[in-house]
């Protein structure tokens, strides 16, 4: 199969509330990605936008960003899901022979909707929605299942919050850079037990964009390519209660495919940095297991060991992760952008020294039902 490169990345800062409209933040991210690549909109063959009608409060939410995404008189399509799936579709389109270069841009303004109501609408209207369940309360059920399965305690999860908010101090795009302690997390307001305020990500506003190209389109841009070395995506079943919430088998499947494509046998050793989707603190050790960084039930041991801290064996979420800035629909694409910056050694204060291979991860659906994994490298 032909190789696909990421040649441009752009992101807005992620904030609690931005004044700019959807279209304005899309334009900001898209133009940042173009200038990063050293190209202009004329170098782009087609566009994939990422948005969600519930989050945007608008049917055909992508209709609103056509001009901002630069898709006038170009082929365009829209993925409704996390941005990492938009990147996957962009990659397919650049591989298809129809296009050389693809711009992928995702946006959300979480500040303009109500998270609990919007995520309540992802539950089945007949059997679950009437109970008032939402992203956070369902995540809490998953956290408890994981504690039962792994023996993790709340303090273990708190370590994720401490590590990632500290990492965010080095990331000017992040929303919640904080120096906090396990005790701070444990004492923070109870939200949905066992989750406390500092176990939960904020809801952010922001947009992110990347430019993908096949080898033929590479010469249009000035930037050195970062190559996509492996990808995988997979969905588990939906119904809460019938999915093993403590066993992220869909992530295992997606990661297996990505590693196989990238020729990675021991991810813990061969990866230099990981950016994963920690919407809630407990997700990080659970996704460690899904990504094969820790054996089943041993995710908590890995976070406790400190091996995923900055300047350790395998830094996870040098950017501060999703727990420090959570632009829904955008966050997985932001993970991919951070992975690219690591490979380019352009991650400034959050740079992992000598990073050559990095992993980015995004999720869809309640309790991480579906997963997308990218491996990027030189």
């Amino acid at each position: 199969m032909e190789k696909i490169a990421i040649v441009g990345v752009g992101q807005t800062t992620y904030e609690k509330s931005k004044e700019d409209t959807f279209a304005e933040i899309v334009f900001e991210a898209a133009t940042l990605a173009l200038s990063d690549a050293g190209g202009d909109i004329g170098d782009i063959d087609n566009v994939v936008t990422v948005s969600n009608d519930f989050w945007d409060g608008r049917t055909i939410s992508s209709m609103a960003v056509m001009d901002a995404a630069g898709s006038w008189d170009k082929d365009i399509s829209t993925v409704e899901g996390d941005g990492i799936f938009g990147a996957l579709y962009g990659m397919m389109r650049s591989l298809s022979g129809s296009f050389n270069t693809t711009l992928v841009v995702a946006h959300v303004k979480g500040s303009e909707g109500k998270m609990n109501l919007i995520t309540n609408a992802m539950f089945d209207p007949i059997y679950q929605r009437g109970l008032g369940i939402d992203a956070t309360s369902s995540a809490a059920l998953q956290a408890r299942c994981y504690m039962e399965a792994s023996g993790a305690i709340e303090e273990d999860f708190a370590l994720v919050s401490v590590k990632n908010h500290r990492n965010a101090i080095n990331n000017p795009y992040s929303q919640l850079p904080m120096e906090i302690t396990v005790e701070d997390v444990m004492k923070s307001k109870k939200i949905a037990e066992p989750l406390k305020l500092l176990d939960c990500s904020p809801i952010s506003d922001g947009a992110a964009a990347i430019i993908l190209t096949n080898e033929s389109g590479l010469k249009r841009f000035k930037k050195d390519p970062v190559w996509i070395r492996g990808v995988g995506h997979c969905s588990d079943s939906y119904t809460l209660g019938y999915r093993d919430l403590a066993n992220p088998r869909a992530l295992k499947d997606a990661a297996y495919k990505a590693y196989k494509m990238a020729g990675i046998k021991d991810p813990m050793k061969e990866l230099d940095a990981v950016e994963l989707y920690d919407a809630y603190s407990y997700m990080e050790p659970l996704w460690y297991e899904g990504l094969g960084l820790a054996p089943e039930g041993k995710g908590p041991d890995l976070i406790k060991s400190g091996a995923t801290n900055m300047n350790s064996d395998l830094p996870v979420n040098p950017s501060g992760g999703v727990i420090s800035a959570h632009p829904v629909m955008v966050a997985g694409l932001a993970r991919l952008i951070e992975a690219v910056l690591q490979i380019r050694s352009e991650a400034d204060k959050r740079q992992v020294k000598g990073a050559k291979t990095a992993l980015a991860h995004g999720i869809n659906g309640p309790c991480g039902q579906a997963h997308g994994v990218f491996i990027v490298g030189i």
Binding site: N116, G130, G132, S137, L141, C145, E148
Partner: protein, 151 residues
């Protein structure tokens, strides 16, 4: 040119579109038994023998139609739970609200529902619970009021 005045004007809206979701024949049988007889029924996959509650028209692993209805008990085991401390427009109760994943005896998975009649400090996974049915039942999931601990 004089500087233009600026202020952050916003426009408030709400997407209010009415819906009715048909439950389908399979789900309707479940709700009719629940409403009229206070009975919980599951449905079994003929191939993998898994019992689903709420019922499904097709087994999603085997991808074949399910057929055999199975009468289940109103008792089960609490597999997971959370105590929610925030209120919002869609939770039909005042906080603290307890959600549970309840593995009903004879089913292969858990049912998402409320846990009630309980001191929150006594909640623990593995505890035995029993369905408490609503006095007024309308043929929906709230015909089960909640699951309560079996003393």
């Amino acid at each position: 040119m004089s500087k233009m005045e600026s202020e952050n004007i916003y426009y408030e809206g709400r997407i209010k579109v009415p819906y009715k979701w048909y439950v389908g024949e399979t789900g309707s049988r479940f709700f009719i038994a629940l409403r009229d007889k206070k009975e919980i029924w599951g449905i079994r996959c003929p191939r993998c023998r898994k019992v689903y509650v709420p019922p499904v028209k097709n087994c999603w692993e085997c991808f074949i139609p399910t057929k055999e209805w199975v009468r289940l008990k109103d008792t089960g085991t609490l597999e997971s739970f959370t105590v929610v401390h925030y209120p919002n427009e869609v939770i039909p109760k005042k906080p603290p609200v307890v959600y549970g994943l309840i593995k009903i005896d004879g089913a292969d998975g858990s049912l998402l529902h409320f846990v009630g009649d309980i001191d929150i400090s006594e909640l623990k996974t593995g505890m035995r619970v029993r369905a408490v049915f609503a006095d007024e039942r309308a043929g929906n999931i709230l015909d089960i009021k909640h699951f309560a601990p079996i003393p």
